[in-house]
């Protein structure tokens, strides 16, 4: 069904945006190559199920683990290389990973890979089951994200983001937390890749190219980096926009680009970031309600 497919696309985008938010929003490390990990997860899962005969439910975490393995390496790299140097390095990793998918026979090279539909307890996964799985994964990651800022880990990550030296003086080892953020973020991206592969039934290297990374980063920034709900809203808007504007076929990308420019220009803190329009509106409504309560009481 069409609506299910659109919902699946939104669900995939939300997971990606949240996973990027852990690295870029919470730990403040630039990532312009997130699609690489999405792709590593997708290819890992595709190979494990199609060639090694693993069941999907083992391949799913394995895809996350494989992506996280490369994520750890990038995390270690981030300790040595800073800021924009790191940002461009992540682009490089994206290109190299896509190039490997494109050139190595094992990954289907230029012909791509066919991916079997998952089966669980005899049920062959159609779009409904995949959507269910995505809602579950989104809920889990969301709960994790909700609790992250208040946990010791979240505090440490915030410290790393805002002032590395101050965090270090408080006894946090900034490097450890950076690597940790990369590990979790890429693990989730890898799992998302696995779901993507089994949903599509066919993957090829360009599905994970640099523009996809840019798309994910745009979602997170548009919604509000570092906020818990922001990336979800960003993912929702930027995934639905091209579908909604399908009727203006020829102008779709023009609208998409224009939307990004205007939102960034006028809501640079993200749609639900601090002091954004929506945030203020919410405070206002809430203030009125409290007032009402006080009056009634």
């Amino acid at each position: 069904m069409y609506e299910q497919v659109v919902a699946i696309n939104v669900g995939l985008a939300m997971l990606l945006a949240m996973s990027l938010n852990i690295i870029t929003g919470f730990a403040g490390q630039p990532t312009l190559g997130h699609a690489a990990f999405y792709g590593i997860g997708a290819y890992t899962s595709a190979l494990l199920t199609a060639k090694a005969g693993w069941p999907f439910f083992l391949a799913l975490p394995a895809a996350g683990a494989m992506a996280a393995l490369v994520g750890v390496l990038l995390g270690l790299f981030s300790v040595r290389v800073r800021e924009d140097f790191l940002a461009v390095t992540t682009i490089g990793i994206n290109f190299v990973v896509v190039a490997i998918f494109q050139y190595v026979q094992l990954f289907g090279a230029s012909l791509g890979l066919a991916v079997p539909k998952p089966e669980f307890l005899g049920v062959r996964f159609g779009n409904t089951e995949i959507l269910g799985l995505l809602i579950l994964l989104n809920a889990l990651v969301y709960l994790f994200m909700r609790h992250l800022p208040n946990s010791w880990l979240g505090l440490a990550l915030g410290g790393v983001r805002n002032d590395e030296e101050a965090a270090a003086s408080l006894g946090y080892n900034a490097d450890h937390y950076k690597v940790f953020a990369f590990t979790i973020g890429t693990f989730i991206a890898g799992m998302t890749g696995s779901v993507y592969a089994h949903f599509m039934g066919f993957i090829s290297s360009t599905d994970f190219a640099f523009p996809v990374s840019i798309g994910v980063l745009s979602m997170a920034v548009l919604g509000g980096l570092g906020s818990v709900t922001g990336p979800l809203i960003g993912a929702l808007i930027l995934t639905l926009a091209p579908e909604v504007f399908r009727f203006v076929s020829d102008y779709r990308m023009l609208v998409y680009g224009g939307l990004l420019v205007l939102m960034m220009r006028f809501q640079p803190q993200g749609l639900v970031g601090d002091d954004s329009y929506l945030q203020r509106l919410w405070t206002k409504i809430r203030g009125r309600r409290e007032e009402g309560k006080a009056n009634a009481g």
């Binding site: 290389v81 190299v96 745009s218 680009g257 990004l260």
Partner: protein
């Protein structure tokens, strides 16, 4: 064959240097990775193409292409980037990407999706040196000459003029420069005019070299130029030239002798990652004192 490959490498490197120079200048002052500069690259080529069709005069076409794109750079700086300067660099990055996507599709809608020919290269004949087994394209002289002249002008502007002094002071520390009485707003505006003008020159010259311009022509430069400016040490024009030559030469020699074991762009990024592991601050970047 060896000499031919060396020349090929130098030409590819010069094209990269020209293409990345605009973004280098912008980064030097603003500290943002300005992807919309690759949009200006395509825009400049298209404006030039438009004026070539209208007037048939290559000189008018080039001048108008560069001038109007420079004005566009001024507008972008004034109305898009300036208000975002105190925000996270991610914001300016995404705004720039949005503008880039918008520009590409705008050019497709206005100029049509097909590649168009920017044929002023036909009047420049190739030179053949059979003794050395060399062929030198007529357009190569144009590219190499333009790169050399523009870099000299840039070097003079930055190092030997008062404008350059203000530029360097602002690049070092915008706040201090302001306190010292430098009109930093003017420096920043000038910087964008120069940066986008450079992008237009690059777009036009590459359009002539390959006799084709198309709406998505900025796609490859958009990320390639980032690799070049980062490898050069971010915002250092001389570093950019050096990095462009390193990447151009590496791609050419690997492609010519070893064969592409990975796509050209991936090779460029492998070179980048290896060099950054060795020098995390880039080829000519200074390690920041902490």
């Amino acid at each position: 064959m060896f000499f031919q490959q060396i020349v090929n490498g130098i030409v590819v490197g010069s094209v990269y240097a020209l293409t990345a120079m605009g973004a280098t200048l912008v980064y030097g002052i603003m500290r943002i990775l300005d992807i919309s500069n690759a949009g200006a690259y395509a825009l400049g080529a298209y404006i030039s193409f438009f004026f070539l069709l209208q007037t048939g005069n290559p000189l008018v076409a080039v001048v108008m292409g560069v001038a109007l794109t420079a004005v566009f750079g001024f507008i972008v700086q004034k109305f898009l980037y300036a208000p975002l300067m105190d925000k996270s660099p991610n914001v300016a990055l995404i705004a720039g990407i949005g503008l880039f996507i918008f520009l590409q599709d705008f050019l497709r809608l206005v100029g049509g999706p097909q590649a168009r020919e920017l044929n002023f290269g036909a009047m420049l004949p190739s030179v053949r040196l059979p003794g050395l087994g060399l062929t030198l394209y007529g357009t190569w002289f144009l590219i190499l000459g333009a790169t050399a002249v523009l870099l000299l002008v840039l070097w003079y502007l930055l190092n030997r003029s008062t404008v350059g002094l203000a530029w360097r002071a602002t690049a070092q520390d915008l706040e201090t420069a302001k306190a010292m009485g430098i009109n930093t707003n003017r420096v920043v505006a000038f910087n964008f005019i120069l940066g986008y003008g450079f992008a237009a020159v690059a777009g036009i010259l590459v359009g002539i070299l390959y006799n084709s311009i198309y709406p998505m022509m900025g796609d490859v430069p958009a990320y390639k130029m980032l690799a070049v400016i980062v490898l050069g040490g971010l915002g250092n024009p001389l570093g950019t030239v050096l990095a462009a030559l390193v990447i151009g030469m590496a791609e050419t020699l690997i492609g010519g002798y070893v064969g592409f074991f990975l796509p050209r762009d991936a090779i460029a990024f492998v070179v980048l990652i290896l060099i950054l592991l060795w020098r995390p601050q880039g080829l000519l970047g200074r390690r920041r004192v902490s």
